[in-house]
Symmetry: C2
Subunit: 352 residues, 2 copies
């Protein structure tokens, strides 16, 4: 299998590197939490109730908006395959643990995935490339409507949808935008940005959710409030704040270019050279260097690579993808070596 | 002018990267100090006496062993051109200062140069690539004999040649070998090596002589004793000790390769990548990285470059060569940029 095929298989729709504001907004995601009426939340449900959720969900799957979707019982696939789903952002890290009676439904283009029996009975997720949270909401909503034709969801007129965690009650919606913010990071403005974002009722986290590391200057910004606002209001608010951060990132890039063009260019190309030649590299270092190279692409300094290299490498250099690719388990040293090899090969395939 | 031409012009015979033990011994040099009878040493001579030395030397130039030699009055060339001679190791840094009544005689292939009115009236120098101090002594001796046919040198039966500095009295000879010792440096054995070398009556210094920095793990080893031993004895002793150090360096290389192949390979290729892509680089850093790449070439890890790249870059990235190349004075930042550009271009010209 060629590297191109491997990357092709690893890629979901959202990793295309296209969409509005694609130079900074990598992807937009909307996740809806839903629970079936008359059944306890997964954490307190018994085995037969969890099975019932699985069966009902599978039966209610809306065919028209879930083209060629795969219904995957997580207990029937290997830990490695579960980890692949996590690395592609199709399921949460939590969902890959204690997998009895858990499932993932994944649409063919991977733009929609549904986690069954995670914290809630259903978590419907739609991801789009670029700054398109409204489009993601619209698609997730369509899938939600599809399920609702056959399932009755727990909720009340006054509170909206009921969820296992009170922070999700109401719309049950979490909308998030993945932002690449190298210039704000370099100029040490991220602390300030995170503070301001908090004042707007939004939160900023690492790319694999709460408590995960910041890799490659990529931040996930999402709403904290799910109650008292409509879905569209939440999404529009998030979009407005995202656009402001995007403007600030652009200004910071311009500023660095004006103030220290040589130093910036030198840093970007040194990162390029290291990626193209290193024989061993950690995820953390690789992501930082890829972030530099991507900044170089966005600023027109690096001209032989496409922006999507960031999204591609973001996924394929993760441990499960590396091990899948090599066809065997790898220890840390081996992973660092194979990661370096994979990146070198990808860098050689100049896109232009 | 193409880069190839520029490098071609910058290169002396000794930079070919050939000769015995060329993987570690970069070059061998012999320098003979001679003074004219009946004239005071340059430091205490008056103007007319200094002029007399210049005239006598020019007249006595042995034509047969100094083919197409150029007699350069240092006061008649620019400071930049004098610095070029220093960077090519044809004259000492001291000789490029206070240049009134000083001259350099340079043979066409730059294997022989003579400093006139440096510390002594004449300093005859021969350089060969690789470990060939005996060959260098033989050539320097031939030039010395040539001069002696027409000049009378100061000396005595008992002491041998008289020199301005007592440390040179006797043979007036300083023989030195330039050694590339990256593995002994990496394994922190250089302090020990320098100590041992001292016990053998030899000394280790930087590549531009006493008190200069160690650049790119290149060391110059030379004799301290000039009295009480014949020239051949001195050269043979130096060669024996050099061979021992060369063996130790080879053993250290083997050891590192056995113990940490991946780490070594990674370091070498990261250095390669940085050299091939950096947009700004200091001499100090460049030399360290080039040392790594050269080690990679010697160990068969880097296969697209010839060993001589070390010697080439050693010379052409120095400030005067850079400024000559660019045709104008450059400040430190500009030099770092142009140095990076020059190295990038050279790296692109893979040798195989």
């Amino acid at each position: 299998m060629s590297l191109k095929d491997i990357i092709g298989r690893a890629l979901s729709n959202w990793m295309k590197g296209t969409g509005p504001e694609f130079d900074i907004a990598l992807s937009s995601r909307v996740r809806l939490a839903r629970n079936l009426e008359h059944l306890p939340f997964p954490a307190v449900a018994d085995e037969s109730q969890l099975k019932q959720v699985l069966t009902s969900t599978q039966k209610a799957l809306p065919i028209e908006c879930m083209k060629n979707a795969e219904f995957i019982r997580l207990s029937e696939i290997s830990p490695l395959e579960r980890q692949l789903l996590v690395e592609k952002h199709l399921i949460s890290p939590q969902h890959a643990q204690n997998v009895k009676h858990k499932a993932a439904i994944v649409r063919e283009d991977e733009a929609v995935s549904v986690m069954v029996n995670e914290e809630d009975h259903l978590r419907i997720q739609a991801i789009f490339p670029g700054l398109q949270p409204l489009e993601a909401w619209s698609l997730a909503g369509k899938v939600d409507d599809g399920f609702a034709e056959k399932l009755e969801f727990a909720g009340s007129e006054r509170l909206g949808f009921l969820t296992a965690c009170p922070t999700n009650v109401g719309t049950g919606m979490r909308a998030s935008i993945m932002l690449h913010l190298p210039a704000l990071s370099m100029t040490e403005q991220m602390k300030r940005v995170v503070g301001v974002v908090g004042q707007f009722g939004l939160t900023v986290r690492g790319i694999y959710g709460e408590g995960t590391d910041i890799l490659g200057n990529i931040y996930q910004m999402s709403n904290q409030v799910t109650l008292g606002q409509s879905e569209v209001e939440i999404v529009e608010h998030l979009t407005r704040v995202a656009k402001q951060i995007i403007d600030q990132e652009r200004a910071a890039r311009e500023h660095i270019l004006q103030q220290s063009r040589i130093r910036l260019t030198d840093r970007i190309f040194r990162s390029y050279g290291t990626l193209a030649y290193a024989r061993s590299i950690s995820t953390q270092e690789a992501m930082q260097l890829i972030s530099d190279v991507r900044l170089g692409i966005d600023m027109g300094l690096v001209t032989d690579l496409e922006p999507r290299i960031l999204q591609e490498l973001l996924v394929i250099i993760r441990p499960a993808h590396l091990q899948k690719l090599m066809g065997r388990e790898l220890n840390v040293e081996e992973r660092d070596e194979h990661r370096a090899m994979l990146i070198r090969e990808r860098m050689k395939q100049t896109d232009k």
